[in-house]
């Protein structure tokens, strides 16, 4: 596996630098706090849930709320034999697709979703999830098709949002944003609203409207200060504007989530200075994550880390960004692929991404600029 080969020199390089086995210690006082409880309340509540899809769903939503993929393993186990059942009940099938998606097994997830939709062409959740995956993969045309099918089944913010991602990233940012802003004025389920506000922020950035983007994200944070997706997007926005101190304040105490730890490391970074504590911790996390078969799940973070925090690892960053881009093509991934390829002098790679940007009609200003440089 290509990615496994990529991992190896890393493991060797970092394996030497980091004591992966640490230095265990004997605490001195009985009263010393070793760890906070993380699952106490959940444990109690989940005791009453019978094993099977219901329990899996609980674990799944917990995993999302806590940004902790440990729960996905529990969810998978809770499904038991249903995990390998070729054509299970739709709700189980959907759970499985979602778990696979969370694990970055997009192909596996799509296979599951195709299966569900063959059996139930009008399953709204399956359509929505498939559209989401297709969007992440940069397959906007097919994603739009799913959104259209969805619009026949329901209406409201969910549909507008679905369309907005597909069209907003393929040349229709202005119209999509307008439609979305209108819909966001009304009432909606908070979770859906926050998600849609995030899309509005992204589309605003596509049009160069950074102040608008920040407004949407901050409003989303008001509704849910813990939403990782919003925090990440806002941190990236602030970093882009060189407001690193605000990032540190925003994400303080949240280094449990890798994506946020990375932003903290980025904010901490001063050119030429030695690695700060956040960066060191990130390095440790990335090394430990290498033992996971779903290594691609970390490629984006790792490439970013290499590009922006470590110095002298441009080739590595470019390779990882390229591998990442094969799997997912959100704005951040495309930008990363272009930046790293240009920095490492990989003209061919940069050109390939630039051509895709052109064909797709991506409007994000800085990406268009990078694409222009790539085609020179």
């Amino acid at each position: 596996m290509r990615t496994a080969l990529l991992a190896l020199p890393w493991a060797l390089l970092w394996g030497a630098a980091l004591p992966a086995w640490g230095t265990p210690r004997l605490p001195t006082a009985d009263s010393e706090v070793i760890a906070p409880t993380r699952h106490q309340d959940d444990k109690q509540r989940l005791k009453t849930v019978p094993g099977g899809p219901a329990l899996a769903r609980e674990y799944l939503s917990l995993g999302r709320r806590r940004s902790d993929p440990r729960y996905f393993g529990l969810a998978q186990a809770a499904l038991g034999d249903l995990w390998t059942e070729p054509e299970p009940a739709s709700d189980v099938w959907l759970l499985r697709a979602t778990l696979r998606q969370a694990d970055h097994d997009f192909d596996g997830a799509l296979k599951d979703l195709d299966g569900i939709l063959t059996r139930e062409p009008r399953n709204p959740q399956a359509l929505l999830t498939r559209a989401a995956i297709r969007q992440v993969q940069g397959n906007y045309a097919d994603a739009l098709a799913d959104c259209e099918r969805l619009s026949a089944l329901t209406h409201g913010l969910v549909v507008i949002g679905c369309r907005a991602v597909a069209e907003g990233n393929s040349g229709k940012a202005r119209e999509s944003l307008a439609a979305l802003e209108k819909e966001l004025k009304g009432d909606a389920d908070p979770g859906v609203w926050i998600w849609a506000a995030g899309i509005a922020a992204e589309l605003s950035l596509n049009l160069g409207k950074t102040k608008e983007a920040e407004k949407w994200l901050r409003r989303a944070l008001e509704k849910d200060p813990e939403d990782v997706f919003t925090l990440t997007a806002l941190a990236d926005l602030l970093l882009e504007q060189k407001r690193a101190a605000e990032v540190t304040k925003l994400l303080q105490g949240r280094e449990f989530v890798d994506g946020l730890l990375l932003r903290l490391a980025l904010a901490e970074k001063k050119p030429g200075a030695p690695m700060g504590p956040y960066a060191k911790k990130m390095m440790e996390r990335l090394t430990e994550a290498k033992n996971r078969p779903r290594y691609p799940a970390h490629l984006r973070e790792e490439a970013l880390f290499n590009l922006k925090v470590l110095e002298g690892f441009d080739d590595r960053a470019a390779e990882m960004a390229r591998e990442n881009w094969k799997v997912q093509r959100e704005i951040i991934d495309t930008r990363l692929a272009l930046e790293t390829a240009l920095k490492a002098g990989k003209k061919e790679w940069a050109r390939e991404v630039a051509e895709w940007v052109e064909t797709t009609k991506l409007e994000t200003p800085d990406i268009r600029e990078l694409a222009r440089r790539a085609k020179k």
Binding site: A35, H39, P69, A102, T154, R285, Q328
Partner: protein, 360 residues
């Protein structure tokens, strides 16, 4: 219809890792020593760690749960042919939180040549939990990732190459003869009159150094040949003699050889004594190799190496003795009394050993 919007799971920002435990093993003379790092947040699902329900897990609370934690660990790690025992109980921090560190040992009887692991910690409850295994054997490191998908792994440990093993046993052989005072004493009794020969009931000096040299060589070589044979037989378990018998017989051999210097029965064929008694000494050496469990080892390398080592050790003794006994052959009191008194002293010591070994 209610749309759950699980869509939000599409979070690539959620780039964190599921549950891992870290298992490190190292081969020892009796089996393995190990360290197992298990995440406290994983243990929380199985055990009730927060005894006072205050939202924090303290060192005291962990200690209260020690038996339960070790029990859980012991139940979920099987090493074929080895018995697990837990030692240290410590903590450590990894990227994703605090871990309990269990120090343990595996008693396998001897250094294992292959290790079969079976891992089942958390795998029923967590489909994505993994045990990251690192095994160190000499200079080699082996790794494996175990979990629900791969619960078992067999590590075949590399053996050192022929010459490395030979060298190792050579050192062992040399060491063994140096600490084998009884073997050395026997050798000395053989060497005392080596530069002399009997003529008309008296010790007469041998003329040339080369003649003396050849006599000594003859003695030492036949000794070596003999003990090589019996060493091999014993090490391969073809012949098995009780050690008490062997040790006592060795003591007797010294007495016999020493007394033979005083009242010579065998002279021209001194090498015969060396050979005859060498057979007994070989059994004595065998106990060392038996301890190392040679049944499936690189037999040739180990036996050859060991014997060479013993021979080298003996040659060292000769190198020391020859320059002494050669000129001494012309010294009258040496011929008339030195050898005899020296031999009787040796016999006395050997007699003491005999009594000690045969009866106590």
């Amino acid at each position: 219809m209610k749309i759950l919007l699980l869509l939000l799971f599409c979070l690539p920002a959620l780039a964190h890792k599921p549950s891992d435990s870290l298992l490190r093993l190292e081969t020892t003379k009796a089996g393995l020593s190990g360290q197992w790092d298990i995440a406290i947040q994983d243990l929380e699902w199985e055990l009730d760690l927060d005894r006072n329900q205050d939202g924090k897990i303290t060192w005291g609370e962990l200690k209260e749960n020690r038996a339960a934690i070790e029990g859980l660990a012991g139940k979920n790690l099987m090493i074929t042919g080895c018995a697990l025992g837990f030692d240290d109980f410590l903590v450590d921090e990894h990227g994703d939180g605090a871990y309990v560190v269990l120090g343990f040992h595996a008693d396998c009887g001897r250094t294992p040549h292959s290790i079969h692991l079976k891992y089942s910690l958390f795998t029923e409850r967590d489909a994505q939990h993994q045990g990251l295994v690192k095994l160190v054997h000499g200079g080699d490191t082996y790794t494996a990732i175990l979990g629900r998908a791969t619960p078992e792994k067999n590590f075949v440990l590399s053996r050192p190459d022929f010459f490395t093993e030979l060298l190792e046993f050579l050192k062992l052989g040399t060491h063994h003869i140096w600490i084998g005072y009884d073997h050395l004493l026997f050798l000395v009794t053989l060497l005392l009159p080596a530069a002399l020969r009997r003529r008309n009931g008296q010790w007469v000096p041998v003329e040339t150094l080369s003649e003396a040299g050849w006599r000594v060589a003859g003695i030492v070589t036949s000794f070596t040949l003999a003990h090589s044979i019996t060493l091999a037989l014993a090490a391969l378990d073809v012949v098995r003699l009780p050690s008490r018998f062997v040790e006592s017989a060795i003591a007797l051999s010294i007495i016999a050889s020493a007394l033979n210097n005083v009242w010579p029965l065998v002279d021209k064929r001194a090498w015969l004594i060396a050979f005859g008694f060498g057979l007994i000494h070989g059994f004595g050496f065998a106990s060392v190799l038996q301890e190392l469990g040679l049944a499936d080892a690189r037999l040739a390398a180990s036996l050859l190496g060991f014997n060479l080592g013993v021979e080298l050790g003996q040659l060292a003794v000769v190198a020391v003795c020859l320059p002494l006994i050669f000129p001494a052959r012309r010294v009258v009191w040496y011929r008339r009394g030195g050898i005899q008194s020296g031999s009787l002293a040796a016999a006395a010591v050997a007699a003491y050993w005999f009594v000690e070994r045969a009866f106590f």
